[in-house]
């Protein structure tokens, strides 16, 4: 039995390898046949005085065989002495004269391309192709027969409002509706914060501070009271949003307190007088924009305007919650940064806190330009991510899943964002489990199992999903 199984595995493997190796040859043979069929279609157009259709047929042929002499001549090209083709100076715009025969033309064209489409479908159904080859064969078939049910079936597509799409495209649309509801709940249904007196430990910090609180959270600081109230709403909100979106019941720590300082210069008073910060630790905190204070349930932010402070403190708190709920830390850069950015933006519409190294792929100027674009609040990250995945050398998802947050490049950050969005919208049922497994160091395996395909194939899949997310 084991010998038989071994032989079967070997044969299957050889079959797959053969299909991959033979792919280009089979595509080329099908193209040659298609050219013949299109020549026949062009001749039919000529016989029916459908000159515009004939021109389209020759243009089709040139995409398949750029040296096709009859097509070149038919399109008005002339041959130079050195053998090169010279385009007509004033291309003619031909006309179709027989309206009756024109109605028959689409069916004739479909018949001419049917053999080619059939060959591509046969390649897909034969199996053993690489993800890239599958994508190419499917694209070739759909180019001539966009509604081909066999190809869409093979791709696992479903019919959506805008034609054939990935099943996740339909799922994600429904999930986004749910997510909007979660955000509304998170921001509007929590207990309302109200002004409260300072606690004794807060009074020991020599700053003119006020405080607001809910039953589970205090926000204290030198910023206007309205900002304290907004920050309390946002911090409560991110706790609730994580619970709803990722199906966890993890909560803020008891006695959670957020310090918000209006002026960065005030940080010294806080750092010098916080009982949990030792003199040796002072130097570590001073250069930061804000921080979670180690060994306490305190978070502090002292940089930027109101939006910057709220964005920063939401990220700090979210980092704490993800660490407790899933053991996700900066070591799992894709999850820490990707989910951190997506959930923060879902809640408070900003993405101001992120880590990135200079790009390894882009040149310095392009990297700088990308960073500049991403920092702009109005930049559309999903479109940027789609363009990144369509670029000649996009970052590899498999590599991305190995990096810590401070190893991520600018493009990596963009890709983590797209990946987290995909998981939250399209794989909502699995997202909690993916995060839990990522926290144990099995992120790549967890993502692969959630999407049910290898990561190379997933890159193409993600790109297509992004293109359909409209």
């Amino acid at each position: 039995m084991s010998v038989m199984a071994g032989a079967l595995v070997a044969l299957t493997w050889l079959g797959a390898a053969g299909a991959r190796q033979d792919f280009d040859g089979r595509v080329q043979a099908a193209r040659t046949a298609l050219v013949k069929d299109l020549e026949g279609y062009a001749a039919w157009c000529q016989s029916k005085d459908l000159f515009l259709e004939k021109q389209k047929a020759w243009e089709f042929v040139l995409t398949l065989d750029p040296e096709h002499a009859e097509a070149r001549k038919g399109l008005g090209f002339t041959r130079a002495k050195d053998g090169t083709w010279k385009a007509p100076v004033k291309p003619k715009i031909p006309k179709n004269f027989d309206k009756g025969d024109l109605a028959e033309a689409p069916a004739r064209l479909q018949a001419a391309t049917a053999g080619y489409v059939g060959a591509m479908v046969a390649l897909l159904e034969g199996g053993g192709l690489s993800p890239q080859q599958e994508e190419r064969a499917a694209a070739e078939a759909l180019r001539y027969d966009p509604d081909n049910a066999a190809v869409h079936g093979k791709l696992g597509d479903v019919r959506g409002e805008k034609g054939w799409v990935l099943p996740e495209t339909v799922r994600a649309k429904a999930r986004r509706e749910e997510m909007r509801g979660f955000v509304k709940k998170a921001l509007e249904e929590g207990p309302a914060p109200a002004p409260v007196p300072l606690l004794e430990r807060e009074k020991k910090i020599p700053l003119s501070m006020k405080a607001v609180a809910t039953p589970s959270l205090r926000v204290v600081g030198t910023v206007p009271e309205e900002e304290l109230l907004h920050a309390a709403q946002a911090v409560q909100g991110i706790e609730r949003l994580l619970q709803l979106a990722c199906n966890t019941d993890h909560r803020l720590p008891n006695g959670a307190t957020v310090f918000l300082l209006a002026d960065p210069a005030e940080k010294t008073a806080l750092i010098d007088n916080h009982p949990a910060i030792t003199p040796e630790q002072r130097a570590w905190y001073l250069p930061l924009e804000g921080a979670g204070i180690q060994g306490t349930a305190d978070f502090a932010f002292w940089t930027g305007d109101e939006s910057r402070k709220i964005d920063g403190v939401v990220r700090l708190v979210l980092g704490y919650l993800m660490s407790g709920a899933y053991e996700i830390t900066v070591a799992q850069g894709w999850a820490y940064e990707g989910f951190g950015l997506v959930l923060t933006r879902s809640l408070v519409r900003t993405r101001m806190t992120w880590l990135a190294q200079p790009s390894a792929v882009l040149d310095a100027k392009a990297d700088f330009a990308l960073r500049q674009r991403l920092i702009e609040p109005e930049t559309n990250w999903m479109d940027e991510a789609h363009q990144l995945l369509a670029a000649p050398q996009p970052p590899k998802v498999a590599e991305l899943l190995k990096k810590s947050a401070n190893q991520l490049t600018t493009e990596d950050v963009l890709l983590t964002y797209a990946l987290a969005t995909y998981l939250l919208e399209a794989q909502a049922e699995d997202v909690g489990q993916v995060l839990s497994r990522a926290g144990t160091g099995a992120g790549a395996m967890a993502v692969q199992q959630a999407v049910d395909m290898d990561l190379d194939a997933f890159e193409l899949h993600l790109r297509r999903w992004l293109s359909e997310r409209n």
Binding site: V183, H230, T350, F368, A369, R373, S467, R469
Partner: protein
């Protein structure tokens, strides 16, 4: 500046002696400086006076209070040196006036309200994908606080020299130390390294040098004499280093070819020869000091000036052909393109400051001290300001560089 000045004083040993500041024909004790002394000059004197007392140096300030020359107390050559200082300043002011309006350096990515970055050309075959497909404007979102945006006209700003402790252009007093021996040179380097953290590494390596010119603090130094120095003329050093300090003070850091070219231009104009050859380690022939004009004339009789002849002359390595061509191009620019130079130099400064940054993370960066503007970018700026200047320069070098 005052904080830095105080710390420099604190690092250097206090001592005795009876040194003075000589300014406008009067001598002043360091503890009785005249009230009309401009603050920048006051700061410069304050920064170096403790060391001057200890090491027995005197200070001479030019009447405009722009140059503080620090030399050994028993200096019988000071009148000639101050004449050279005056000569450099007079020529510099005449030839290179300050830009009528200085450009601001665009902020890096860390600034939250920069100009809108350019969108790259679309590569895909579809319109932009929406970020929030079902709520593209975000109108339904319950969170309404938006990041601050600048809606009022920006405040007028004072343009300052990058890395120069936010000192505005053309305000600082240049300090030029003429050091009597390598021991004094080493003491100065040590104190600079301790006072200015960004100079700590450099100050250790600089012991092998015979002088320096620094942008921040704005100070130059050279050895008055040294047993190993042949073909060394301290007066030429004074002219050369003061020329470079003057450029830094007015225009910030400029491409090497221009900074050295201008220093050589003033050496020849004021001293009639070239004696300063930074980074050169091969023998200097006695005939070389005065041979540059004729050698350039002969070279460009045979060929045309090309951008690579001088634009690629970078710091750290002396290349004789490029050095001469750099000087020649500055001669041409000063003679024929004077009016266009201030704006060109200002744009070169901005380009360097804008592109010579290394991003540490999304929000912080540090300066790439070795950054050189690529020759092609320099050429583009030259063409923008001067038009097709290379043929004009070639013709001028052939016909007018050397008077008939």
């Amino acid at each position: 500046m005052s904080t830095v000045a105080l710390s420099l004083v604190a690092l250097l040993l206090a001592g005795g002696g009876d040194p003075t500041l000589h300014w406008k024909d009067k001598d002043y004790a360091f503890d009785a400086l005249p009230p009309e002394l401009p603050p920048a000059a006051h700061a410069a004197v304050g920064a170096w006076m403790a060391w001057a007392k200890t090491a027995d140096y005197r200070m001479d300030l030019d009447p405009s209070a722009r140059v503080l020359l620090v030399t050994r107390a028993a200096n019988g050559h000071i009148e000639k040196q101050m004449e050279l200082v005056a000569g450099v300043l007079e020529r510099f002011d005449r030839e290179l006036v300050a830009p009528a309006q200085r450009r601001e350096v665009p902020p890096p990515a860390s600034a939250l309200e920069p100009k809108k970055p350019e969108k790259p050309a679309k590569t895909g075959d579809h319109p932009p994908l929406p970020e929030d497909p079902e709520d593209p404007e975000g109108g339904d979102h319950p969170w309404k606080i938006k990041p601050q945006t600048t809606t009022t006209a920006p405040e007028p700003v004072t343009v300052t020299r990058w890395g120069a402790l936010d000192v505005p252009f053309d305000t600082e007093t240049m300090v030029l130390l003429v050091l009597r021996n390598p021991d004094d040179f080493e003491v100065v380097l040590k104190s600079l390294g301790k006072t200015f953290p960004h100079l700590a590494d450099w100050s250790k390596e600089a012991k092998a040098l015979q002088g320096f010119v620094l942008p921040a603090p704005l100070v130059g130094a050279y050895l008055e004499t040294h047993p190993s120095l042949e073909e060394w003329d301290p007066d030429h050093e004074l002219v050369s280093r003061l020329a470079r300090l003057s450029l830094l003070r007015r225009f910030g850091e400029l491409p090497n070819w221009f900074a050295l070219g201008y220093a050589w231009h003033l050496e020849i104009a004021l001293q009639g020869a070239v004696y300063c050859f930074p980074w050169r380690d091969e023998f200097v022939w006695a005939t070389e000091h005065t041979a540059w004009p004729h050698s350039i004339e002969q070279r460009y009789e045979r060929e045309r000036v090309k951008p690579g002849d001088f634009l690629a002359f970078v710091r750290g390595k002396y290349v004789d052909d490029m050095a001469r061509a750099s000087w020649a191009m500055v001669e041409y620019l000063v003679a024929k393109e004077t009016a266009k130079l201030p704006d060109l130099l200002d744009e070169l400064r901005v380009y360097r400051e804008e592109h010579g940054r290394i991003m540490d993370d999304a929000r912080t960066w540090h300066r790439d001290v070795d950054y050189e503007i690529p020759a092609a970018e320099q050429q583009a700026l030259m063409l923008k300001h001067l038009g097709p200047y290379l043929d004009r320069a070639t013709f001028w070098l052939r016909k007018e560089l050397v008077p008939e």
